[in-house]
Symmetry: C2
Subunit: 217 residues, 2 copies
């Protein structure tokens, strides 16, 4: 793990952490040949966020804009990238190489955000030994060896619901430091292990409900 | 759209809506031959949610458990499925069939949750006319015709950041009712259109930050 920028070991409010990637995404759309500086007002207009909120969020990174000029675009982009951990590489093991698991392995976008899936695990003998996007799929009993050999720190869970807790336990026992859960099931981890839930299907439920309220279904 | 269960046109608190899929996921792990009834206590233990919270969440669905017995598993499962909109089919157009877009098209899990991706859109001439998982990829100028012909109500955005707003505008103009945004960019929609954000990469940022706080990176 290379460390070009200072580590982001500052406790940030979660809403701020969720907004920072918006700012980064916006900066990436700016043509740097045309535009050296960007103001909070301009970011605010593009993203529909209050300018003072943007200034406050960015102050957590220890940088302030220049009065009446704003932030230097490239410097801010690099800072955000580093701060969010997207500039470092984090090795990850994918538990479950079925439909969603294989899809995530195939998503090269994750690599640009600092996530390197270095191995996949599945119980299906037909896919064990095959490769998806260059990533080899192994049987579950290889987890412990793989975590150590490949320096994996993150485990991604995309197995069927009733195998989710077991898959997580296996990873934690092998020394994994964070679990990224894509299943709709609740996973428990011991203290000191990070758990992050991305429940795609829960988001769908919220969307369907909003649609039916608007009588759009 | 078939309608086996009453439509879920009740305004639910979002935390409740996010928990309902957990209950559904848990119920799906129960062997129905062995177990006819399940109590809130048992669900609570499995999911680490307060039993009274579960009873409250489920009361929104208009069903109550029997004292000392609990809920009939199959009936509750069916009710949740219907209520969450997972039992109906919603046609969707995928904007962007690159890495993430193709991955989502390939994820057959979405279909089990009521989402049918019926067409993909991409600007890359090499993939226009091809099929992913049986879903045909079209050029952007086909959007309007496709939305109408295929009765699409949801548009999924998985294009590069600086094309996200344009892709959404195009869908809304064509009559789409809800936008599911997978990009880290902020998308604006007119009133009456539902917007739902699943920012996978923002979740990564939150996870990296928690890891660095625990000195785990």
């Amino acid at each position: 793990m290379t460390e070009k920028t200072p580590p982001s070991n500052i406790q940030l409010p979660e809403p701020t952490l969720r907004r920072l990637p918006w700012y980064l995404a916006y900066l990436s759309t700016i043509n740097k040949n045309d535009t050296e500086y960007v103001s909070t007002t301009r970011i605010a207009e593009a993203l529909d966020v209050d300018p003072s909120q943007i200034a406050k969020d960015l102050s957590f990174l220890g940088i302030r804009g220049k009065t009446r000029i704003g932030y230097q675009v490239e410097a801010l982009e690099e800072k955000l990238q580093g701060f969010l951990g997207f500039g470092r590489s984090h090795n990850a093991i994918m538990m479950g190489a079925g439909s969603l698991g294989a899809a995530l392995i195939a998503d090269s976008g994750l690599q640009r955000y600092g996530l390197d899936i270095v191995a996949g695990i599945d119980i299906n003998p037909d896919i064990i030994g095959t490769r998806i996007n260059g990533v080899e799929i192994f049987a579950p009993d290889a987890v412990e060896t793989l975590v150590k050999k490949l320096n994996a720190v993150i485990g991604i869970i995309a197995v069927p619901v009733n195998s989710a807790q077991g898959a997580s336990d296996r990873l934690v026992e092998a020394g994994i430091k964070a679990i990224w859960n894509f299943t709709p099931s609740r996973i428990r981890v011991p203290e000191g292990v990070v758990i992050s839930n991305t429940s795609i299907y829960s988001h769908l439920a919220v969307m369907y409900n909003r649609m039916s309220l608007l009588d759009l279904q």
